[in-house]
C-alpha cells in the first residue's frame, strides 16, 4: 500500500497492462515524450518505446480510426483524447465504427479499444476543456462507459477496461486527478466487478446518486447533512453503461427519495434515465419525484463563473431539502 494520486494510479494501471500484454498499445497526442498533458502516460514512452507508446498526428478521427485498424490486427489500443471537447472530431469513428463493428461482423471481430478522456470541469480551464458528454456515449449501444471517482477505482477500472473485449469510453474526472488514496497495485485483483455501483456512504433519509467528479461533492454534502441530523446515502455509479440499477433501486427502495447529481446539463442527462427508471422500479416506494442537480442548459461557461454552473454542496442539499419537503 502506498499513496497514489489518480494520475499516478492511472499511470500505474497502464504500465501494468503494457507489461502484461505485448499487444497493448498507448496512443494519442503528446502521450509519448511529454507523458500526456496531465502526465498520465509519464515514463511509458521511455520504458516501452515508441512502438508501443505512440505520439500520433493531431487528428482525433485518425487516432480512433487507426486504433480500430490496430485492434483488427490483434492489438489492444488505449487511446487518449487530450480533453473532453476534442473527442467530437472522432465521433463518427466512435459511434459508427467502434461501437457497431462487432455487431456488424456478427461477432467475428472484437474491438478491445479503450478511449481515455479527461473530462468535466472545475479546473479553471478555457473553453472545450470542461465538458461532460457522457450522455452521448451512454446512449450509444455498443460502447461501455465508465468513470472512476477515486484513485483506487481509477486503477482497477482502467485495468479492467483495457482487458475488456468491448470498446470502453473511460472518462477521467480531471478535477480529481490530484486526489490521493492508499492503493496496492499488486493486490490479487479488482476489489469488485467493473460494472457494479458502489454504496460510498450509507444513509437512511435519501439517496444521492453520482459518479466521477460529483461523488466527492455528494460525500461532502452527506457529511454536512449529518450535522443537521440527516442521513444521506451516496451511490457511486462507476459504470454508466451498463448501469447497475439493482444497487440504485435497492437504495431508493430503502430511502424513498433520490437526488441525481452530475455536471452535464440536466436536460437529457444521465439523471433523466435514472429518474425514469427509478420511478418505474420504485413507483410506490418514492416519497418524492427523483430530483436532479446538474449543469444548466448552456455551453460550459468561462471559468470565472464555473462554480455557479457546477453542482456544489449547497445545490445538492437544496435538492435534498426539496425532496424531503415534498
Amino acid at each position: 500500500m502506498s499513496s497514489f494520486t489518480m494520475v499516478k494510479a492511472l499511470n500505474e494501471a497502464l504500465r501494468k497492462e503494457l507489461e502484461a500484454d505485448p499487444k497493448t498499445l498507448v496512443m494519442g497526442e503528446d502521450v509519448g515524450r511529454l507523458g500526456g498533458v496531465f502526465r498520465v502516460t509519464d515514463g511509458l514512452h521511455k520504458d516501452f518505446g515508441e512502438d508501443r507508446v505512440i505520439d500520433t498526428p493531431l487528428a482525433e478521427s485518425g487516432i480512433v480510426g487507426t486504433a480500430i485498424g490496430l485492434a483488427l490486427r490483434g492489438y489492444r489500443p488505449v487511446v487518449e483524447i487530450q480533453f473532453d471537447g476534442f473527442v467530437y472530431p472522432a465521433f463518427d469513428q466512435i459511434v459508427s465504427q467502434l461501437a457497431k463493428m462487432h455487431a456488424r461482423a456478427l461477432g467475428h471481430v472484437k474491438l478491445p479499444v479503450t478511449v481515455r478522456i479527461p473530462y468535466a470541469g472545475g479546473i479553471g480551464a478555457v473553453e472545450h476543456h470542461s465538458e461532460s458528454h457522457e450522455a452521448y456515449f451512454a446512449h450509444t449501444a455498443g460502447l461501455k462507459v465508465v468513470t472512476p471517482s477515486n484513485p483506487v477505482d481509477a486503477y482497477w477500472m482502467l485495468r479492467q477496461a483495457v482487458r475488456c473485449d468491448d470498446p470502453v469510453i473511460f472518462l477521467e474526472p480531471k478535477r480529481r486527478y490530484w486526489d490521493k488514496a492508499e492503493l496496492d497495485p499488486n493486490a490479487a485483483g479488482a476489489p469488485s466487478r467493473l460494472h457494479d455501483a458502489r454504496v460510498a456512504r450509507e444513509g437512511r433519509d435519501a439517496t444521492l446518486i453520482a459518479y466521477g467528479p460529483m461523488v466527492k461533492v455528494c460525500l461532502d454534502a452527506a457529511a454536512a447533512a449529518e450535522e443537521d441530523g440527516r442521513s444521506l446515502e451516496v451511490v457511486d455509479l462507476r459504470s454508466l453503461s451498463p448501469l447497475d440499477f439493482d444497487t440504485v433501486t435497492a437504495s431508493v427502495q430503502r430511502t424513498g427519495r433520490a437526488v441525481v447529481v452530475h455536471e452535464a446539463p440536466v436536460f437529457m442527462g444521465m439523471g433523466a434515465e435514472l429518474a425514469a427508471r427509478i420511478t418505474e422500479r420504485c413507483f410506490y416506494a418514492l416519497e418524492a419525484p427523483v430530483l436532479r442537480v446538474g449543469g444548466y442548459f448552456a455551453p460550459y461557461p468561462p471559468s470565472r463563473v464555473e462554480e455557479t454552473f457546477l453542482p456544489d454542496l449547497d445545490r445538492v442539499l437544496d435538492a435534498v431539502d426539496r425532496s424531503l419537503a415534498f
Binding site: 480510426g65 480500430i68 485498424g69 462487432h102 473485449d165 468491448d166
Partner: protein
C-alpha cells in the same frame, strides 16, 4: 524553388491590385488530363509502359478473363435480384471490373483489403463467397462474414472511414514485422472526406504498408469529380509525401501491374502509395438511383468503347489464346454462378428477431440482457410466440 511548381506560380508580386475576375464554383477550366498507365488498349492491343512492366502467361490471362466475366455476371444477377424484390438495394460494379480484378489479383493471400460497398470484384479475387456479399443488401445482416477468413474486411458504408482502419491495420503489420500489405479502397467522392486525408497523414508519418486504391468512376452519385477536386486525384499523394499513380482503370493488366508494384513498394518499407484507377460507373449509383437526371448518355456511350472485358477478350482472341470453346465455357460457368446466387438468395434465411440482441457486446451488457428478456416475454404473449 520555394513556390510549389505544380500550381500557379506568381511571376511577380504585383503591388497593384489586379481587377477581380469574377469566378463561380466549377467554372475553373479543368487542367489537361494526364496520361494513364496503360498496358492494354481499348482495342485489345498489348502495349509497354516505361515504368510498369508485366509478364503474364496465356493461362493467367484466361483466368483473369474468367474473373472479369464471372464478376460481371454475378453483379448483373444481383441487379436483377433487386428488381425482383429479393434484395433491398444493389450497388453495381458495372464498368469497374478491371480495376477490381486487377487490384484484387495483385494481392497475396496475406494482404488485407478494406472495401467500400462496391468491391464485389475484389471480394471475388480474395475468395469470398459472393452470396456473403448479398446479406446486407437483402437486409438479413450488416455484412457478417468473418473478415479474417479471407483477409477481406466488411463493406463500409460511411464514406472514407475504412481508409483509417486500413491504415491502422497496416501500422499493425509494421509492428508485427510482417511481410503483408493492405489495400484501402475508396471512391472519387470519398477523396473529399477528412478521414481519407487523415489516413494519408497517418500512413505517411508511420510509413505504413498501405495502398490507397481510388476508383475514380467519375461520379459520386450525381456529382462529377470536379465537385471533389480540381486536379487529378492521384496528385493528392505528393502533398503528403508519397507517390501517386493514375492507371487506366479499365485495363486489367495495368491495374494488376501498378497495384502489384504499389503493394511491393509498401511492403518493402517504403510507405504508402495512392493509385487512382480512372474508370467509369456504367450503371446507376445504386438501384435506387436514376442517372438520367444528371448525366448525358453520350458519356456512357463513349465509355462503352473502353469496356474492360471486351478489350481482354479481343486480346486473347487476337493472340489465339482463347477459342470459342473457352469463351463458351466461361459463359456457362457464369450462368451457373448466377443460378447458384439466385437460389442462394431466395433460400437465405431471415434472421430471428432476437438476433437484434446478439453481438452488441463481446463481453455482455446488463441492459441488453434485460431488454432481450423483456422482448422474449412480450413475444411469448402473442399467439405463436413470436412477433414480427
Amino acid at each position: 524553388m520555394t513556390v510549389d511548381s505544380t500550381a500557379g506560380v506568381p511571376k511577380k508580386a504585383s503591388g497593384t491590385r489586379r481587377k477581380r475576375v469574377p469566378s463561380r464554383a466549377g467554372s475553373v477550366a479543368p487542367p489537361p488530363q494526364p496520361e494513364l498507365v496503360q498496358l492494354l488498349t481499348p482495342e485489345g492491343e498489348r502495349v509497354e509502359h516505361p515504368d510498369f512492366s508485366l509478364e503474364t502467361t496465356p493461362e493467367e490471362l484466361r483466368a483473369i478473363y474468367r474473373d472479369l466475366v464471372l464478376v460481371r455476371r454475378f453483379d448483373g444477377e444481383a441487379t436483377a435480384l433487386q428488381r425482383q424484390g429479393e434484395l433491398g438495394l444493389w450497388a453495381s460494379l458495372l464498368g469497374q471490373e478491371a480495376a477490381q480484378v486487377g487490384s484484387g489479383r495483385a494481392m497475396r493471400p496475406g494482404d488485407y483489403a478494406f472495401p467500400t460497398y462496391r468491391e464485389h470484384g475484389v471480394a471475388w479475387c480474395k475468395g469470398v463467397d459472393p452470396l456473403n456479399l448479398l446479406g446486407m443488401f437483402r437486409g438479413v445482416n450488416h455484412g457478417g462474414w468473418d473478415p479474417n477468413e479471407k483477409n477481406f474486411h466488411l463493406y463500409t458504408i460511411v464514406i472514407g472511414s475504412q481508409t483509417l482502419h486500413a491504415t491502422g491495420y497496416a501500422m499493425g503489420i509494421t509492428k508485427d514485422g510482417a511481410d503483408d500489405a493492405v489495400i484501402a479502397y475508396f471512391g472519387d467522392g470519398a477523396s473529399s472526406q477528412g478521414d481519407v486525408n487523415e489516413a494519408f497523414t497517418f500512413a505517411s508519418v508511420y510509413n505504413a504498408p498501405v495502398v490507397f486504391f481510388c476508383q475514380n468512376n467519375q461520379w459520386a452519385i450525381s456529382e462529377p469529380t470536379e465537385k471533389q477536386s480540381r486536379v487529378p486525384i492521384y496528385r493528392r499523394a505528393s502533398g503528403f509525401g508519397f507517390p501517386g499513380v493514375r492507371v487506366d482503370g479499365n485495363d486489367v493488366l495495368a491495374c494488376l501491374a501498378v497495384t502489384r508494384w504499389a503493394l511491393d513498394h509498401a511492403r518493402s518499407g517504403n510507405g504508402p502509395v495512392l493509385v487512382e484507377a480512372f474508370t467509369y460507373r456504367m450503371g446507376a449509383h445504386t438501384t435506387s438511383d436514376d442517372p438520367s437526371r444528371y448525366r448525358m448518355s453520350e458519356e456512357l456511350e463513349a465509355w462503352k468503347l473502353k469496356d474492360p472485358i471486351e478489350r481482354l477478350r479481343a486480346h486473347l482472341v487476337r493472340e489465339g489464346w482463347a477459342d470459342q470453346e473457352f469463351l463458351d465455357s466461361v459463359e456457362a460457368e457464369s450462368e451457373q454462378l448466377a443460378r447458384r446466387v439466385r437460389e442462394g438468395v431466395r433460400t437465405m434465411p431471415d434472421p430471428s428477431p432476437a438476433a437484434i440482441f446478439e453481438h452488441v457486446y463481446a463481453d455482455g451488457h446488463a441492459l441488453v440482457d434485460e431488454e432481450r428478456a423483456q422482448y422474449e416475454a412480450y413475444a411469448a404473449s402473442f399467439e405463436g410466440g413470436e412477433v414480427r
